[in-house]
């Protein structure tokens, strides 16, 4: 196949700071900068090697390092921001880009759900909506349509949480192991989601460094290449009824319930690969059902088969498509309002380097990393590879 411009870009440095329920003495700015400096060091670079930045404190980094003029993305978070940096490098606007994100100190009113889960909007806020309820409305519709069961979703949560149980840096490391029955015995948050099927709230920072693939070989870490990526959006999150069947004008199966399908198709096309060639699925796990849903949306199984897929053994360590190998947002960390939307990418990089601290997939060559979810009306996908295409 023809080279895709993304293939000119490699991830050469990553860093997760310490993650915890609360990081005393930190705020968003300090934990973001700690992550940034860690990723630059991991890449074997110096702050003034950076000539492009992504993230809310990117501009702060430029000033502190006195490294301007430089390129800056105005995209704030997640895989879309990562792909901004990839495109900047592929088009020659930047050579070495830092993407840093972090959260600390903003969640103080603990009797309420975290502030990032409850955006104010006149059509949802007065009905007590927040993320768990939004995602629950999508999950319930799938259960009704396909017969997906609470036990199947709970099993997916148990698999993810058990990966976190084994990760030394997970906020909830060592808290397991869990069975599906344990998950179903935890208190109900928003039916069908029990507490152990929901993302946590936590604090932390995460960062990575991108550079041109032809420069990556001179750096100390094994480079990880960007094979393809895509982003799917159906509208602003948490403002309108999260209707499974929203959309469908481009193609009947491209509805909000399948969000991420088009993004995955684009990513696979750019990579020249299909679902059968993915070795590790670093799927975003805000709620248990999202694991079920994504295997359907990306074509690992057919419509309505996600419940059977996640209970088939395929997503466990040693299965065909191990999922969220560090425990994800349920057990590893959420890191604040946006950090978690980058952390799947960091773990995918570790899996391909071969140094993931939990559930390392032997010989992993292709990782699929995602962010978002149907309840938020968006899903982003990036495919990473050990070898340059």
């Amino acid at each position: 196949m023809a080279q895709h411009p993304f293939h000119d870009v490699a991830i050469v440095g990553i860093h997760n700071t310490r993650q915890a329920r609360v990081l005393e003495g930190h705020d968003d700015r300090t934990i973001t900068m700690e992550a940034a400096l860690g990723a630059i060091a991991d890449a074997g670079l110096e702050p003034r090697d950076i000539d492009g930045v992504i993230g809310p404190y990117g501009s702060d980094f430029l000033y502190q390092a006195r490294v301007g003029p430089a390129w800056r993305s105005m995209s704030p978070l997640g895989i879309p921001a990562l792909l901004d940096g990839v495109m900047a490098i592929a088009s020659g606007m930047a050579t070495t880009v830092l993407f840093a994100t972090g959260g600390a100190g903003s969640y103080t009113q603990r009797a309420s759900t975290a502030p990032w889960t409850r955006p104010t909007n006149e059509f949802v806020a007065c009905y007590g909506m927040y993320t768990a309820a939004e995602f629950a409305l999508m999950a319930r519709r799938h259960m009704h349509t396909y017969g997906t069961t609470a036990e199947q979703m709970a099993h997916a949560a148990a698999v993810v949480r058990n990966n976190g149980h084994a990760h030394p840096d997970a906020v909830y490391g060592g808290r397991g192991p869990f069975t599906a029955a344990d998950v179903l015995a935890s208190r109900m948050v928003a039916d069908p989601f029990h507490l152990l099927e929901c993302a946590m709230t936590s604090e932390g920072g995460a960062a990575l460094v991108l550079t041109r693939a032809d420069r990556a070989d001179d750096l100390p870490q094994r480079p990880v290449y960007v094979l393809g990526g895509g982003t799917d959006y159906y509208g602003p999150a948490y403002q309108h009824p999260p209707v499974w069947d929203l959309g469908g004008h481009q193609r009947a199966d491209l509805v909000a319930g399948n969000v991420g399908r088009r993004a995955a198709e684009e990513a696979f096309a750019a990579a020249g690969l299909g679902p059968g060639e993915v070795d590790v699925c670093e799927f975003y796990d805000p709620f248990s059902f999202e694991i079920v849903r994504q295997f359907e949306a990306y074509g690992f199984c057919g419509p309505g088969e996600g419940g059977d897929y996640v209970t088939s053994g395929a997503i466990e360590p040693g299965g065909a498509t191990p999922v969220t190998t560090d425990g994800g947002t349920m057990s590893f960390s959420h890191g604040g309002a946006a950090v978690q939307l980058l952390q799947r990418v960091l773990r995918g990089v570790e899996q391909l380097r071969g140094d993931c601290a939990s559930m390392q997939v032997e010989g992993a060559e292709v990782a699929m990393c995602t962010g978002g979810g149907a309840g938020a009306l968006f899903t982003d996908v990036v495919l990473l590879g050990k070898e340059r295409p």
């Binding site: 909506m129 409305l137 009704h144 928003a190 507490l195 009824p241 209707v243």
Partner: protein, 139 residues
Amino acid sequence: MTLLRPQSGDIPLPVPGPLSAPYWEGCAAGELRFQRCGACGGATHTPALMCAVCTSADLTWAVSSGRGEVYSWTTVWRPQSPAFEVPYVPVIVEMEEGWHVLADLVGCEHDAVHIGMAVEVEFFPHPAGITLPYFHPRP
């Protein structure tokens, strides 16, 4: 079991804008309003400048029958904030005119809800002033 009732605490209330004011004014007048398209006849909610079906800008406000069926639901036990009494049951209702609206269910036990449940709008003035639509079961 808990009989579901409207929330009366210090909850976040709508602040109507230029697009949504007719919707909230309708609620105060006991009408559930949506936007009807002059070009295709389609129904639009939440309030918009384009028809959700055909993108025409020829939209006028119409009054719904107020009747629909539950399209999806959740029962919330961990509230958005302590201002909410639990449990409460957010539902997406598919209205007879073909549009979807999100609101909370009232007037039945919390475990009576199911997809396909026939419901009808009911308006409740919140103590702070604005009138909110809820849905209750209908025969």
